[in-house]
């Protein structure tokens, strides 16, 4: 026990790690007691509402606030800096002004009395249409890369060589596929919209912020308000969804603080639902044209693609590097990217940034190769993996994928259900189909610091400036401490959600679980060593013979030579034992690691007469290294699949080509999956010793990547026709059938 090197116990020796337990804040959340930013109610608090620009592209000519100021209940009108007369507004929903009032109704009524003159400018929102974007001067080159297995000779012109090589490779390919695939932009659509409730105490700001970056947003507030970061405290006990969109206070959060400063009263400013969808984050669209060549076995020899993508008004989109084609790395490829600038809200990181789109627009092409060959799609995916020694993929090892595919196929009963594309037996107008896709993600541990306090009465609490996005961070931390200290997880108090606590990194990129596991395992191991020394002295035994388990510390196998946890803690003295735990991102550690692989398979039913697609069964097999909180990890995978089903079948941002308006920005029109839409989902965590021994790896991103491609492939298998662009709406299914002459 005196050994201070850090490690995890073996799977068969754990008491808490990887166990199926209830989350420690479950009852609080399920009975409505948990307080979110939107729920904070401070004395004399004003309600602020903001007006979003109704036009997608315009210039603000003038703003008259005089009538609005006179609406009963209105206290303060704030015009945003970027909407001052003369400013250009680049997307619908961009905030123009906020009104703070005594009630929600008064604020909204006040907004309706603002008199604003706009000068309309030309609108472009048609990101799927490359030709239109080029014609409108909205398309710019986004780079690319060419790679050939053969090197050009010293005398060769490189460009000519590549062209000739590609021509040769395609000529030698047994199968050549020309494909078009796409995926529309979707929004984060956090159910708790972005926003803040703020109050000043003298020069100090207390900001309740709906954020996934508790430790980092105090500085951002301070920058915006020209005050010192020390004078800001950001709090977020519970957050109603973030998904990558809530790393900053945003200009409206800062405005809430400004309004509060101006009025001398606390202010709550939360976005409206439509504002949340229009301005608070979306996942870029991506569309791809590809020509690929494969040998007689279906192994891809050459890949040649161009994709266009839009991150909205501020540019960006899905990059070509690292993800196109996705996971697979053919020996010869050429890829290029075009960025399209639209009059739509700017993109934000969305769960597994770029991966779901890349998977959706490239694994579909691989499935079309299988369809052309009349082959089983699973075989073609397997043949393109290579081996651990001769990899043809990036990310996780081919052997991991092989094992996972085998497991998933068994859970899906793939072989029994499989039929060649378009060749299944129809039941009336209903056909069924199978599809799969694979994915990878890093998920290495983020920075994390914690302060662990062990009180003389045996109670344990930790202080950590992280946040629980709903993934069960509190519970996972308690399990790590429980495992290490040998005490029940339920009594451990986990304090997080304040920028005044020891700094922990933002929750993005599946980095939280690794970070907090590192800091807490380290702190608890160190703390236990100190207590162990005291116990050893008291019992007259050597410290390295002691173990902590079942709320006792003592010599293993000698019950008479042990103290209860409480007795042991009594030895600490009057003041609690405080130990810090720290981890810096990128430090090699036996406790955490990165890079996982996952496989997903979908079985769908399609009604050819209506174009409606239904999920029948969905299987996910996921590697995540060492599992900390098993029940919550499984929940993450279920949730990712359900989110994936939504974007595969229902979800899309619909922008009006004529006006630039985001037409379906209310939940009435923004279609998400409902409880009855999900079919039977089977989740299997792949955790053999080979993967578990790598340590903790994040899970938030990976399982959300494959559903789009897997479902699209299943629909293609059912119909024998590719519906090229996600989501697969009835309209698109019918149009694809009609185009293929199968209607």
């Amino acid at each position: 026990m005196a050994d201070n090197s850090y490690s995890w116990p073996k799977a068969e020796e754990t008491s808490a790690l990887g166990k199926r337990v209830n989350r420690i804040d479950g009852v609080e959340k399920a009975s409505g007691r948990a307080k979110y930013t939107y729920d904070i109610q401070l004395p004399k608090q004003l309600i602020a509402r903001a007006l979003g620009c109704p036009h997608a592209h315009c210039k603000i000519v003038s703003i008259d606030t005089s009538v609005a100021e006179k609406v009963p209940g209105v206290v303060h009108v704030h015009v945003f800096e970027k909407a001052k007369p003369g400013s250009e507004i680049q997307w619908q929903g961009e905030l123009i002004a906020a009104i703070a009032a005594e009630s929600d109704g008064a604020a909204v009524e006040g907004l309706s009395k603002l008199k604003i003159q706009y000068e309309m400018l030309e609108v472009f929102v048609d990101d799927a249409n490359l030709a239109a974007a080029q014609a409108a001067n909205r398309a710019t080159k986004g780079g690319g890369k060419e790679q050939t297995e053969r090197e050009p000779g010293d005398d060769d012109d490189e460009k000519e060589f590549v062209t000739a090589e590609f021509a040769r490779l395609f000529k030698e390919s047994k199968y050549v596929i020309d494909g078009f695939y796409g995926i529309d932009a979707i929004t984060h659509c956090c159910l708790e919209p972005h926003g803040a409730t703020v109050a000043w105490n003298g020069d100090k700001l207390l900001a309740y912020l709906s954020t996934q970056n508790v430790s980092g947003t105090d500085e951002q507030f301070a920058d915006g308000l020209k005050i010192a970061a020390d004078d800001v405290e950001v709090r977020c006990e519970h957050i109603g969804g973030g998904f990558g969109s809530k790393f900053a206070p945003d200009y409206w959060g800062v405005a809430a603080a400004e309004i509060s400063r101006a009025t001398g009263r606390p202010v709550k400013l939360m976005l409206d639902r439509d504002q949340e969808l229009k301005i608070a984050g979306n996942r870029p669209s991506a569309y791809l044209k590809v020509k690929l060549g494969a040998d007689a076995n279906g192994v891809i020899q050459v890949w040649d693609s161009e994709h266009w993508t839009s991150g909205g008004a501020t540019g960006g989109g899905v990059p070509h590097n690292g993800v196109i084609p996705y996971v697979f790395e053919p020996k010869n490829y050429r890829r290029s990217q075009i960025n399209i600038q639209t009059n739509l809200g700017p993109q934000r990181a969305w769960r597994a940034p770029n991966h779901p789109q890349a998977c959706a627009i490239t694994h579909t092409a691989i499935d079309d190769l299988a369809a052309r060959m009349g082959a089983d799609s699973m075989d073609i995916f397997l043949r393109n993996l290579g081996t651990d020694d001769a990899r043809r993929i990036g990310g996780a090892k081919p052997s991991v994928y092989r094992a996972e595919i085998e497991l998933a196929a068994k859970l899906m009963d793939w072989k029994a259900k499989w039929h060649p594309h378009g060749k299944g037996a129809a039941k009336g107008s209903v056909v069924d189909g199978l599809g799969l896709a694979i994915h990878t993600w890093g998920g290495g541990a983020n920075d994390s610091n914690c302060n662990l306090k062990i009180h003389p009465d045996g109670s344990v609490e930790t202080f950590c400036g992280t946040q629980d996005l709903g993934v069960g961070t509190r519970t996972a931390i308690a399990l790590v401490l429980s495992e290490t200290l040998g005490i029940p997880y339920t009594g451990i108090k986990v304090n997080l959600g304040s920028s005044k606590l020891p700094v922990s990194g933002p929750s993005g990129g599946s980095t939280t679980i690794g970070g907090v596991s590192e800091s807490h395992r380290r702190a608890a191991t160190d703390a236990l060593a100190k207590i162990g020394d005291l116990v050893a002295k008291k019992l007259g035994v050597a410290a390295d013979t002691l173990v902590a388990a079942n709320s006792r510390i003592g010599v293993k196998g000698q019950p008479d030579k042990s103290l209860s946890w409480k007795e042991a803690c009594n030895l600490i003295g009057m003041r609690p034992l405080e130990v810090t735990g720290s981890f810096k991102r990128g430090t090699p550690s036996p406790l955490s690691n990165s890079t996982v692989g996952g496989v997903q398979m979908a079985h769908v039913l399609v009604d050819k007469d209506t174009g409606v697609v239904k999920i029948n069964k969905f299987v996910a097999v996921q590697d995540m290294g060492l599992v900390v909180a098993r029940k919550q990890a499984e929940s993450q995978i279920y949730g990712a699949i359900i989110m994936g089903i939504a974007s595969a079948l229902f979800e899309q941002r619909i922008a009006d080509r004529a006006s630039g308006a985001f037409l379906n920005s209310e939940l009435r029109d923004y279609k998400l999956a409902r409880l009855g839409d999900i079919g039977d989902i089977v989740v299997e965590i792949y955790e053999p010793e080979s993967e578990r021994s790598r340590g903790v790896i994040g899970l938030g991103e990976p399982p959300v990547i494959s559903p789009g491609a897997a479902i699209s492939n299943a629909v293609a298998n059912a119909l024998g026709v590719r519906v090229p662009v996600l989501p697969l709406t009835p309209q698109r299914v019918l149009e694809a059938l009609q185009k293929a002459g199968r209607a």
Binding site: S429, D607, G611, L649, I654, A658, A661, D669, R674, T729
Partner: protein
């Protein structure tokens, strides 16, 4: 929300008093599932809101001796679903089930359901009932808009999911209030009552001052009156993208008066395809004298959409309307509909 004055009358005549005050603009509140959201968004901004839920006569369900079913306008949809009175009115039951949200069913009333405002995203986005005189939908994204009756400025589809069934079954609505049935120009203070065949209750507005029903501001729907369903095979089929309360992409209700194996008479009404529920005489005519099988139902579906005039982006709805008609007919006749 604009502030408004509020009243909760307990009698029909009180309600008419409150609605008849022409110095204020009024809206009728029942369940609130539609109106309150519209008021929050300042799409509808009445001076006065009249809550009719407290009027006992509007909350009754009554089977009359002649077989008619009188449903109070303020009867909630879940009450209807749970009531034995709906037996035989399968088309209505299925339409209510289709709403697929307990909350909407428990809160929403049948009167509110048929008087709900269009779901059209241009209207709800603040661009007017007709969406800039029809230009918004004509030039913009019209994927969910009308494929029939869209030659005027109104391109939206009527939202009611129950109205097609009510029309197919030959229902009427009892309207009370100023010059009942004479339209919005009726003289002030003139009060009447009449039963309006529900097909005539809906209208396609031609300008922004009109609405989707013939109801004048000083009028109120008090009851929906259904004739006896005896001998009428009927069903509703909705093509829905997914589960949940989202509106169908197309729908149809079929009512068939059978003479043994053959159809003596039929009424087929499509929903979500036109600014009003859309009665297809062609489909009904095709069915008369025939016995129902898949071929006949398919032909009726084809006939129903033969005159469709889709807009730039909603041709797919023609196929969906055709399938809805076909499947509603099959369901009414007791055949499997196909599909899931």
């Amino acid at each position: 929300m604009k502030n408004f004055e509020y009243a909760a009358p307990t009698t029909e005549s009180e309600a008419l008093q409150l609605l008849g005050d022409s110095s204020v603009s009024t809206e009728i509140l029942a369940g609130g599932t539609d109106l309150v959201g519209l008021m929050k968004k300042m799409i509808v901004t009445p001076d006065r809101v009249v809550n009719i839920l407290g009027i006992p006569s509007l909350r009754t369900l009554e089977r009359r001796v002649d077989g008619q079913l009188w449903i109070g306008a303020a009867v909630t949809l879940d009450t209807l679903l749970d009531s034995p009175y709906l037996a035989g009115y399968d088309a209505v039951t299925q339409a209510i089930r289709g709403i697929n949200s307990m909350q909407f069913q428990c809160q929403g009333t049948i009167g509110g359901e048929i008087c709900q405002r269009p779901q059209c995203w241009f209207f709800r986005g603040g661009r007017g009932l007709l969406g800039e005189g029809g230009q918004a939908a004509a030039n913009g994204d019209n994927r969910y808009h009308a494929i029939f009756g869209n030659d005027g400025p109104a391109k939206f589809v009527h939202s009611s999911r129950i109205a097609p069934a009510l029309i197919a079954l030959g229902a009427a609505v009892r309207v009370i209030g100023g010059a009942a049935g004479r339209g919005p120009d009726g003289a002030d203070g003139e009060v009447g009552e009449r039963l309006v065949p529900i097909a005539e209750f809906f209208q396609t507005p031609r300008h922004e001052r009109q609405r989707e029903t013939i109801l004048a501001p000083n009028q109120l729907v008090t009851h929906i009156v259904l004739p006896s369903p005896a001998g009428i095979a009927n069903a509703t089929y909705e093509v829905r993208h997914g589960e949940g309360p989202d509106y169908p992409l197309a729908a149809a209700s079929a009512a068939l008066r059978m003479d043994g194996e053959r159809v003596a008479d039929a009424r087929i009404v499509m929903g979500q395809v036109a600014p009003t529920p859309w009665n297809t005489v062609a489909a009904a005519a095709l069915l008369r004298g025939r016995s129902i099988d898949e071929t006949v139902a398919e032909a009726a579906g084809q006939a129903a959409v033969a005159d469709a005039t889709p807009l730039s982006q909603n041709a797919y709805k023609v196929q969906l309307a055709k399938v809805a008609v076909k499947r509603a007919i099959l369901a009414a006749a007791g055949h499997p509909t196909g599909g899931f």
